[in-house]
Symmetry: C2
């Protein structure tokens, strides 16, 4: 550790509530109140306490606080991946909203494994969290029971459902995917295929939306789905497109599980000498920033990921603040953004 050279010198004793209390000639409990419920302490005392706090550099010990109050300042967040930029955006919204409050975000990473999710829920609950935010609605039965018995606000995010554990902020992946597929059909593509990787529950619902759209026009989905459990990547998008075109040369459009795949498909199409848009329609999902900047620009379904994080955090904070106003379920919807990659005339 940094100061291991001066081992003899012990680290300075921490400044406690008692020190502040002594400084202003009040009791510790009064100082504690001045910090947490200022309105309960008289004007003059409160000011002297603030001064002493600043002066001594007092910082509350979260562990002691948690132990005494049986409530920690931790808002636990459980997501399946830290690298996936979709979750990165959600996190960004979360951190921005929780930053500046007395609460702290603590992240749990399930790596798409339900048993790890369950373990993380247990661990978080053992910390008596202020709130819990979990991605998805496909928890195991016992995870769900744990969440239901939690005595803190719980927000599920990313998806829509009629039976949330507590609160829910998300959108319908199925409807979004259906809209994207209908867009391909509207634009005159006659043989669309679903390209998917990783295939978590959300991806499965998108696939379902794709099927919905084909069903609605009486089109068979036979041979129009190519999915893999491999993690998604740009490279994989290209590989899937190549593989599918080899088997089904008639394919004139692909709806991709996510934008990485779509981008990869676009590169692969260009590499194969196809003109994206005219020869093959490509639609992604999420509308990452790169989709608009790409050449040609790539159609995608915009999702409001950052706002999802913000809203989820706000729902928790509102609950903690006693304002239980908002709705239990928030549908953030989605928005199709048509671009050159699905423009046959382009």
């Amino acid at each position: 550790m940094p100061n291991s050279e001066n081992n003899g010198r012990k680290s300075p004793r921490r400044v406690t509530l008692a020190d502040v209390a002594r400084e202003v000639g009040a009791s510790t409990i009064t100082v504690s109140r001045a910090l947490r419920r200022p309105e309960m302490v008289s004007e003059g005392l409160r000011q002297r306490i603030s001064a002493a706090v600043a002066d001594l550099g007092y910082l509350p010990d979260p562990a002691a606080r948690a132990l005494a109050s049986r409530r920690s300042d931790v808002i636990g967040v459980i997501i399946p991946s830290v690298t996936n930029s979709v979750f990165a955006d959600v996190l960004s919204g979360l951190y921005d909203t929780v930053g500046g409050t007395p609460y702290n975000v603590q992240l749990g990473n399930t790596r798409y494994r339900p048993e790890i999710e369950e373990q993380l829920i247990r661990i978080f609950l053992s910390q008596r969290p202020a709130g819990l935010i979990v991605a998805g609605i496909d928890q195991t039965d016992s995870s769900r029971r744990l969440l239901e018995s939690a005595d803190c606000p719980v927000v599920q995010i990313m998806e829509l459902a009629s039976d949330p554990v507590d609160m829910l902020v998300g959108f319908s992946h199925r409807a979004a995917a259906r809209a994207a597929t209908e867009h391909l059909l509207d634009r005159g593509y006659t043989a669309p295929t679903f390209l998917g990787a990783r295939m978590d529950p959300r991806s499965e619902r998108r696939l379902q939306g794709f099927r919905d759209a084909l069903d609605a026009v009486g089109m068979s989905t036979e041979g129009r789905e190519l999915t893999t459990t491999e993690p998604s990547s740009v490279h994989l998008g290209g590989a899937l497109l190549d593989r599918h075109r080899a088997r089904a040369p008639g394919t004139d459009a692909v709806f991709c599980n996510n934008d990485d795949l779509a981008l990869g498909a676009a590169f692969a199409a260009q590499r194969a000498g196809l003109k994206v848009g005219r020869d093959i329609g490509i639609c992604g999902f999420n509308d990452l920033e790169v989709m608009a900047a790409a050449h040609p620009s790539i159609t995608s379904v915009r999702t409001f990921r950052r706002q999802m994080g913000e809203t989820a955090a706000l729902r928790v904070l509102d609950h903690l603040g006693g304002k239980e106003t908002g709705p239990r379920v928030v549908d953030l919807s989605y928005k199709l953004i048509p671009r050159s990659s699905t423009d046959r005339g382009a």
Copy 2:
């Protein structure tokens, strides 16, 4: 909260060490030891304790533990951005390495603001963290003093320096950028420009490396740098290239601050009818996955971000485990990956 319907029923009392102790007929301290230092407890007792723990579903209370031991299980991580995929990769390595240990990662997001970084350091220190990992070496003076006085292992990451606070895991941005620029010159480009956005301290060092390379061959950097403080994006990469080409039509290569800019530059070049590689050389930085998959593929400098997170976490864990073996400074280096975007003959 989930169970607010059954308000009358109080949440089940938590299982404590005392419960386990009672169950096996031992004292709490012995149970505590069986959990933390199993070798100090006799075989038989230890097994009965494990059984009781599993049976009762005992989980230690981290707050009580932290309060009593004056040491929390938190490894604090301070980074400037959650969305930047560079840090996402580092984080992924961190989480993977810390997951499975009794420690917890807690993330602080400075949003590139030194005063927030300082505040975060203070807050983390007030938690008596098990360890601290901070991005960069450009802390304010008082931040640095705080870190130096911390009585936990501290690892600075992302960069190299001769005077780390404690430990350091990173690589030389300057050397990496110089190598990239030299590659452009080697490949026969005669008028390279540095394109940069955000320009944090690391980017400044990359710019310095660019200058080093030009200096070494007696080339002026005059008019060969276009930077902005705007946050980086793919779109911005294209905009910067367009802007620069309008002013300096002779430019035949760009070294971009990061891969997003490089990708955007590539798109913009194609849009302008240039053949990437032949008409304009493009080199990025970090070697994100998309660079290899792009069409044409884009040259970049590979950095070992995930490994940086893993190594930093390992250094902290080793320290905590008492093994103070490894070196204080780890240079993960970098690797230039030449691709089509800097191939004039392609």
